[in-house]
Amino acid sequence: MFNNIQGLGNKHKVAGVTGRIEFTVINKISIMVRILLFIFWGIESNITAKGGTTIKTINTSVITEAVKKMCQDANFNLGNDVMEAFKKYYESEVSLTGKEILQILIKNAEIAREEQAPMCQDTGFAVVFVELGQDVRIEGGDFYEAINEGVRQGYTEGYLRKSIVSHPLERKNTGDNTPAVIHTKIVPGKNLRIIVAPKGGGSENMSAIKMLKPADGVEGVKKFVVDTIKAAGPNPCPPVVVGVGIGGTYEKAALLSKEALLRELGEKSKYPDIAKLEEELLEEINKTGVGPQGLGGKTTALAVHIEIYGAHIASLPVAVNLNCHAARHKEVVL
């Protein structure tokens, strides 16, 4: 691109020399064009120069190392947001069994942290969210393979369970917990943000998606979410975190519901009406009676997070992605 502009500039200089001799109106214009082009040229050069110097290069080995660490960190160290939620709901839980379970979960997370042992034996499918800045260049090999290598090393060296089969019907274990499920987004800037969110099978199996009619509206959405929780009962290891995706297409709604699980517990939606819906749903879910471990109580969910997207005039997709109380995710910005 720079070369092209240089070429244009040379032609223009020739026109400018002619202008000084004759000084016609055309040449005045020519000078103005030259000035304008000089300014434009300058800006263009700056962008190029700036762009050239601000591209960040990241080696795949750095990515592998970061993913490896996060696989282990996420499985050993439950986030403080979840611990705080356990404590808060311990106070408000009315069932004695429920209280006891919450206490056990706090103790379990403490042991995991102290011993750097997995809090749950299901150390999950490695779900990896990537936000790749458009001014980042990856060098050193295949980007996705670098992530998978991080998962491979993280799960093997960290004594984490290998829970992935290579073929869903043949069901032979891959032995290293790969492949990861990787979601990539290109974003402005020069940062590479990686989130590792190991996802357990028990709660994933209780997740659901439904294409509602626009006429079903907010009441239809609420009913579907609460019905999903009731049907799941004890299976997803309540108290759960409920990720909801509303809008988009079939697959977009599902992805939104998973992204909703990445939010810090209790952090509200930026849309006031959706934040209100999150509150109302949490209240309704905690009235179902399912309770800790489904043995009855008021603490069925620790939080409801909703993400939304534009929808087709004909559709109201709703996806509910359940996460057990081991709501694990760690992130790094490279």
């Binding site: 009315v94 069932s95 004695l96 069994t97 379970i101 056990i104 979960l105 103790k107 379990n108 997370a109 042991i111 995991a112 011993e115 042992a117 997995p118 809090m119 749950c120 034996q121 299901d122 150390t123 004594y159 984490l160 369970r161 290998k162 829970s163 069901r171 274990n173 032995g175 099978g201 028990g202 199996n205 009962g233 004890p234 299976n235 290891c237 009235k287 179902t288 009676g289 399912v290 309770g291 471990q293 489904g294 043995l295 009855g296 109580g297 008021k298 057990c324 109380h325 081991a326």
Partner: protein, 184 residues
């Protein structure tokens, strides 16, 4: 709450007395098994072949532990969701299995088998895997090492905490618990 201490193998008399909601501390031997191992066990039953262990009086724990770190008996070891074993469980209860341990609801077929063959279903606390591992004193793989975490392990446990969810008279703690706390 009073806790009942039981040592395996379990007898009909021990199991018949248990009622939903009771907390039990299990001692002795447990066998692990989940999806893939159950499929193999039931295939053997169908072929009339011998099983890697005699289920009579025994307890199966639905679990796939994490690998043991050096110097440890076992890794983290919490229950998996039981309904996936529902298609296989009645045949094992028919052979004298006295209890299974997992988390989550059982099918009507399993609940019927519990009544018919005098068996119970216990729940352990899902996700309390680091804590539960502390009550496991030894572990060895006795069958299907190729299945990795899904291999059948023989565990020796001390005061392994469980709660009775389904008993021999058809009780279901999940149904009862939710009824008490659901808002009217």
């Amino acid at each position: 709450m009073t806790q009942i201490r039981l040592t395996t193998p379990l007898t009909d008399e021990m199991v018949e007395k248990l009622r939903i909601g009771q907390q039990v501390l299990l001692n002795g031997t447990l066998y692990t098994g989940r999806d893939a191992a159950h499929k193999r066990l039931v295939d053997l039953i169908k072929q009339g072949k011998e099983l890697p262990f005699d289920p009579k009086g025994q307890v199966i724990y639905y679990v796939g532990p994490t690998p043991a770190k050096p110097g440890k008996v076992i890794g983290s070891c919490g229950p998996t969701t039981s309904y996936r074993m529902d298609p296989y469980a009645p045949e094992l209860y028919a052979l004298g299995l006295k209890a299974s341990i997992g988390k989550g609801k059982r099918s009507p077929e399993v609940i019927k088998a519990l009544k018919q063959y005098k068996g119970v279903y216990f729940a352990a606390i899902g996700g309390a895997a680091a804590l539960i591992a502390k009550s496991i004193k030894s572990a060895k793989v006795i069958a299907y090492p190729d299945l990795g975490a899904e291999a059948i392990h023989e565990l020796v446990v001390e005061d392994f905490p469980v709660v009775v969810v389904n008993d021999v008279i058809g009780g279901d703690l999940y149904e009862e618990g939710i009824k008490i706390y659901a808002a009217k």
